[in-house]
Symmetry: C2
Amino acid sequence: MANTDDDRRPKYQRIADSLREAIQSGEYGPGDRLPGENDLMAEHGVARMTARQALGVLKDEGVAESRKGAGVFVRDFRPLRRRGIQRLSQEQWGSGRSIWAADIEDRSLVVDQVTVSEEAPLERVKLVLELADEDSVCVRRRRFVLDGKPVLLATSYLPTSVVAGSAITQEDTGPGGTYARLAELGYKPVHFREEIRSRMPSKDEAGQLSISAGTPVILICRTAFADEGRPVEINEMTLDAASYILEYDFDA
Amino acid sequence: MANTDDDRRPKYQRIADSLREAIQSGEYGPGDRLPGENDLMAEHGVARMTARQALGVLKDEGVAESRKGAGVFVRDFRPLRRRGIQRLSQEQWGSGRSIWAADIEDRSLVVDQVTVSEEAPLERVKLVLELADEDSVCVRRRRFVLDGKPVLLATSYLPTSVVAGSAITQEDTGPGGTYARLAELGYKPVHFREEIRSRMPSKDEAGQLSISAGTPVILICRTAFADEGRPVEINEMTLDAASYILEYDFDA
C-alpha cells in the first residue's frame, strides 16, 4: 500500500500487515507459532486489545489459527487445485462424471445451495449468447462448500430455446451434469473460453463465501461453445481466492 | 466482509465500500458522475474530510477519477487482455516477436526495469528445475509499465548450465526473446504450465506496482518444459489485478 494510505490505517491493521508480510516472506512457515499478545504488546507498545485485534485479522483471513492454550499458528495453505483444461475434457463429462469431480481429489466439494429459474437475460448474457429480444435464459445458481466452508459461487446461463424440457432445468441435472445433457440435445460443448479477473468481494459475495476483509475473490467467466462456434452456456464463477489455485497446462 | 470487521473500519472506508458496490452492481456505469463531497456529507452526516477520503480511496484504487471542476467519475475499466495459450504459441516467438507483444494490441507495454544475475536457487526453484546442490540459476527480474503505470513484475529463473554464454544472460535477449534463445540452445519450450493465485499485495509489491489498499495482485507461476518434460524456466509474475484480464481458450 502507498504510505499515505498506510498512515491512515489503524494500528492493529499495520501490525497485522507486518505479520502477514513476515509469513509471505517465509520468516514464519506453515505450522510456526506467531508472536503472542504479550510479544506484540512489548514490541509495538500497544494495548492487549490492539494486539488481539491484529492476530484476529490474520485469523479472519485464514492466514493463522488459534490452538487452545498454545497460541496462534500459521495455517497450512491447502488450496483446491482447479485444472482448467483437463477438467473440461470429454473424458470427464463424457463418462458420466461431473466436471467438478476433477477439482476434489480426496476432498469433498458439495453443492449446499441450488436454484434454477427462467429469467430475462442480463444485457451481457444476451450479447454473448446471441439471443433475440424475446428469448429467456435458464439460470442455475449454485454454492459449493468444502469441509463446511463455502468456496465457490457459480451462476450458469443457458438459452431456454436449447434446454427447455431437459434435466438442465431441474436441480439435479443427472450423470455427467449439464454438459452431458447438452451433448444429448445436439449441442455438445467442443470449445471453451475462460476469462479470469480478481478484485475485492462485494459485501454480498463476502457474506455468501464467509470471506473476511483482506481476501480477494477470483472471477472466472467461462463460455462453452458447440459446433460452428455456437455459444451455449455462460458460467460466471466467484471463488474465495484463499481456497484456490487455478492451473492451465498446454502445449506450445 | 464480516460485520465484526466492518464495524471496526473507519467511516470513510465504509462509505468507499458502499460506493464501490454501487459501481460493481452497475448503479453507476463507466463515465458516470459519482456523488460529490457535499452529497456524501449530507447523505452520511460526515465532515468534508471524511467524504474526501472516501472518494480518495476509490481514486487510489483506480475505480474513479477526478475531472477538474466537474467532479469524480467512474473510470473506464480498460484492462490488458492476456491470452495465456495463444500468446505462447510458436508462431509468436518462432518468428522473432516477443511473447509480450500479444498482450498489447495498440497499447505500449514497456520494460522500465531489468536486472540479470547469477544466484543460488531458492528451494522451490531448485525442486521444480530439478537442480543439483551446486547448480546456480540465471535470474531475470523485469518490471513492465503501461501508459506510465507499472502493471507487471516478472522474475524468471533458468538453469545456468543451460543458458551460460547466451543472450539470455544479457539484459537484451534479442529477437524472439528468451524462448527463441532456448530453442537455439536445443531446449525449445514445447509445453507450459501456468498456476494462478490471488492475494493482497505485500508492501513491497504494492510499492513497485503503485497499488493502493483495496486492490489485489494476481500471481502467475509459469513453468516452461522442453522435450521429454525437461523444465527449463520458471517465471513468477505479479500482476496488478485492476489492470488485467487473463484469458484461456481451449478445445474440449
